[in-house]
């Protein structure tokens, strides 16, 4: 009985990022780093060693001046559901330590740092480069330790880290709901730091299963697509764009194959149910 009850409560938290709105300002990235105690190094221009949970990439259509167009693509962890929607995401399936796992009630791919022993198999498996490895112990010079968020574990050298959809905010929202005697948390009660920080409101976050949440409609829109959909990783991060060239950049299309030929993102999902 309890199992049944839990299943109906299962959520699939996801994100829809409107690329037509994103201006590439970077507030989401900094909001994420500040919220999640993301370590930094003395030389953050050394991009090989720079560590992050969220990056905003700039792409252009390659057309000559003045017909050039650019687009920014924010890229957190895609929180893949895996081929058959059972949480068999590329990283989870390879982790030998169960340090990364699929959180059934929310669909978030968890990463437990104390459990990770740093084999980096997950990094090799992740097609989105969402995972980063701590080659060094993080250092916070001067008094910078003081700003660390107590809700998020500080990582140590030798472990892999990645975006958690600010899961600690979900935990806190649940706590508040319990104390107020509610079973459910409202859409706006659990929002990751990036979505909250986005000044252009390009990032929408919510339960992809809940028709009352904004992401439900958005993820099913004609403009919606996901990155590398052909791999069947079933990401829970959707993108919206009105530009076909952006869409083309999101996957490896054959010559003559058009992104429009592919079925919309949500169809793939329902088909596999």
């Amino acid at each position: 009985m309890t199992k049944q009850a839990q299943h109906t409560k299962t959520k699939r938290y996801g994100m829809v990022i409107d690329l037509d709105r994103c201006t590439g300002c970077g507030a989401c990235m900094v909001g994420c780093y500040a919220e999640n105690n993301v370590p930094f190094r003395k030389d953050e221009t050394d991009k090989m060693l720079s560590l992050n949970w969220l990056r905003v990439f700039k792409v252009d259509n390659g057309k000559p001046f003045p017909d050039t167009e650019v687009c920014y693509i924010p890229k957190p962890c895609m929180q893949c559901d895996g081929r058959h929607m059972e949480g068999h995401s590329p990283c989870v399936s390879v982790c030998p330590a169960v340090a990364t796992d699929y959180d059934e009630p929310t669909g978030v791919v968890s990463q437990i740092y104390t459990r990770c022993f740093g084999c980096r198999y997950c990094m090799a498996a992740c097609p989105y480069h969402a995972r980063k490895f701590n080659w060094w112990d993080p250092v916070w010079p001067a008094d910078m330790e003081k700003y660390l968020n107590p809700d998020v574990s500080v990582r140590m050298r030798g472990v892999v880290e990645k975006c958690s959809f600010c899961y600690h905010r979900y935990q806190k929202a649940r706590d508040k709901a319990y104390v107020e005697g509610r079973d459910e948390i409202a859409e706006n009660e659990y929002q990751p730091a990036c979505a909250e920080a986005c000044p252009t409101r390009a990032i929408t976050f919510g339960d992809l299963h809940n028709p009352e949440h904004e992401v439900y409609e958005l993820s099913r829109s004609k403009k919606a697509f996901r990155l590398l959909e052909k791999l069947n990783t079933n990401p829970k991060v959707y993108y919206l764009t009105s530009k076909s060239w952006v869409r083309r950049k999101a996957d490896n299309y054959l010559e003559g194959e058009s992104p429009a030929d592919r079925k919309p993102a949500h169809k793939a999902e329902t088909a596999s149910h």
Binding site: T2, K3, Q6, V98, D101, Y102, D103, E104, P105, T106, V108, S110, I112, Y113, T114, R115, D151, V152, S153, V154, S164, Y167, H168, Q171, K172, A173, R174, D175, K176, A177, Y178, V179, E180, G181
Partner: protein
């Protein structure tokens, strides 16, 4: 000094007899049992006293647990009361209790937080939701913390020298058998066992980790 070669059998009269060997076996056995059962726990755990003693029973007679151990509006659990919360009653002595005198002299007057030793302190990678257990599942404090509300004095705090954790995490029984003394036994397996029994699932990693 023997000049015999090694492969030559030792004459019987030169060997220790069976019972002597057995005695040695027993000595080894008993010594290791003693050291393993008595010396080892004492070596493994260091013992500290709380900075001041506290009488839960006397307080509970006049107020609820939640007067001091309350939930904040944002759903987080306050844990041990802060100096400000204690001061709201104990700005001045309310009894002749020497520990209360000490509290007022050393903490209230110096405006210093009491460095309580938390028996059930979890490591930093753990997110434990008091709200889910107390409010969501209607559990009582004593289920996990024992009958501390009826105690008249604070017990000593034992810390594992190797892990730095409180002894309550492993539990007082070295073999983790029987009823947990003071209700304490807070390892991940203990959580998972109870969750399996009560909810049908051991739970997911993120449920309790951060």
């Amino acid at each position: 000094m023997s000049t015999q070669s090694d492969n030559q059998p030792v004459p019987a009269e030169n060997r220790a007899s069976g019972w002597v060997i057995f005695v040695f076996f027993l000595i080894g056995l008993i010594a290791s049992l003693i050291s393993g059962w008595i010396a080892f726990p004492n070596l493994l755990y260091s013992t500290q006293q709380q900075p001041i003693d506290f009488n839960h029973k006397a307080h509970v007679a006049q107020m609820d647990c939640s007067s001091c151990h309350f939930f904040r509006d944002d759903g987080s659990f306050a844990g041990s009361p802060t100096l400000d919360e204690c001061k709201s009653c104990h700005m001045y002595p309310m009894s002749n209790d020497p520990d209360e005198q000490k509290f007022i002299e050393e903490y209230v007057k110096k405006d210093k937080e009491v460095p309580w030793l938390i028996y059930a302190e979890q490591p930093p990678c753990v997110f434990f939701s008091h709200a889910a257990h107390v409010k969501g599942a209607d559990m009582e404090c004593r289920t996990c913390h024992g009958d501390i509300g009826q105690s008249t004095s604070l017990r000593e705090y034992q810390e594992n020298r190797l892990t730095g954790y409180s002894r309550d995490i492993w539990g007082y029984s070295m073999l983790r058998l029987g009823e947990a003394k003071h209700g304490g036994r807070h390892k991940m397996n203990d959580c998972a066992e109870c969750h399996l029994k009560e909810t049908g699932s051991k739970g997911d990693c993120f449920q309790c980790h951060k």
